[in-house]
Symmetry: C2
Subunit: 189 residues, 2 copies
């Protein structure tokens, strides 16, 4: 891999972390550059459309990252309830060491930018829809009815994003653990 890609990737991975933890408006380009070690000139070389483009690519990167985690967690059990509970508890564990929180899904970015930037909104929407597709497929595969699977997937994804916010306010993962418990109520056959 050439140094060109290193620089680009350093910027993008710092941006992905900071945007998703601090939010879009609280994160300055200077902070991203400082953490990535790259100078400002190369940011605008690699991301000519500036902050908005960087944020869109950061959301896409986070989307793929979470998608990978979901695929992994879905391969652990046949039962969707167990898989989804495992996934939520996996997120909840990050709150045990809240000072070193280093990645969260796109909920904050979506809430901040959906009324502010149409391209950013659609990037967040694509992330949500991609994850929900994975929930849905797993549910259908295990015998749930198609329409129910699709609808409950959106509900589950919403619940997870909300429980993350609630856990942030709580300064611990308790609300996420409660959400995990309630998955069996939502998916009771």
């Amino acid at each position: 891999m050439s140094s060109k890609n290193d620089s680009r990737e350093n910027i993008l991975s710092a941006a992905t972390r900071l945007f998703h933890i601090q939010g879009y408006h609280a994160t300055g380009l200077n902070q991203i550059l400082k953490e990535s070690g790259a100078p400002k000139g190369s940011l605008y070389y690699h991301f000519p459309n500036g902050k908005e483009q960087l944020a869109i690519e950061a959301v896409n990167m986070m989307a793929r990252l979470i998608e990978g985690e979901l695929r992994e967690h879905f391969s652990l059990f046949d039962d969707p309830v167990q898989c989804i509970q495992y996934h939520i508890q996996f997120i909840a564990k990050k709150f045990d060491d809240i000072e070193n929180l280093k990645s969260l899904p796109v909920g904050l970015m979506a809430a901040e930018t959906s009324l502010f930037s149409e391209p950013l909104r659609t990037a967040c929407l694509s992330a949500f829809e991609g994850w929900e597709k994975l929930y849905c497929d797993k549910l259908i595969q295990q015998g749930y009815e198609d329409t129910f699977a699709k609808e409950i997937s959106t509900v589950i994804n919403s619940m997870i994003e909300g429980a993350i916010t609630r856990s942030l306010a709580n300064k611990n993962g308790a609300p996420l653990y409660l959400a995990a418990e309630s998955i069996q109520l939502l998916l009771k056959k």
Copy 2:
């Protein structure tokens, strides 16, 4: 009411609206002052601790506002499922006219500021806990077991906040309507 209180209330109500729709960092004091018609000097007279104090009072105001709506909706039916569904659909309707969205709960503020300002985090937490107390009391009153009522109240509140974010990304209230439907699964006796 004296003009002193008018000025203070104008600033606070503009701040409440803007903070909860745009977020803390995206909302400038200049914008709040412009919308409220007050000059900058009087903002710092009424809110000597500046932006953070203003945001805390805005969260408290929104907490009381939603609390009033919840009390009203809880008086409509005996069945908690019906009450909560009514409340969620009440929020969902605001997304029919998304351009004129004028108030949302504190989810965005909580997600943005919980790792940023401890006083703001606790203000958001108090808002959440106040609403959840109302859910909990209604559930206990209708025969649900105490521990279950308390836990499911946090889950319901989380789900609502998450469904709001999901509806913002969707640019319509569909995810909130799905969340409303799923309340009966969470509260099935």
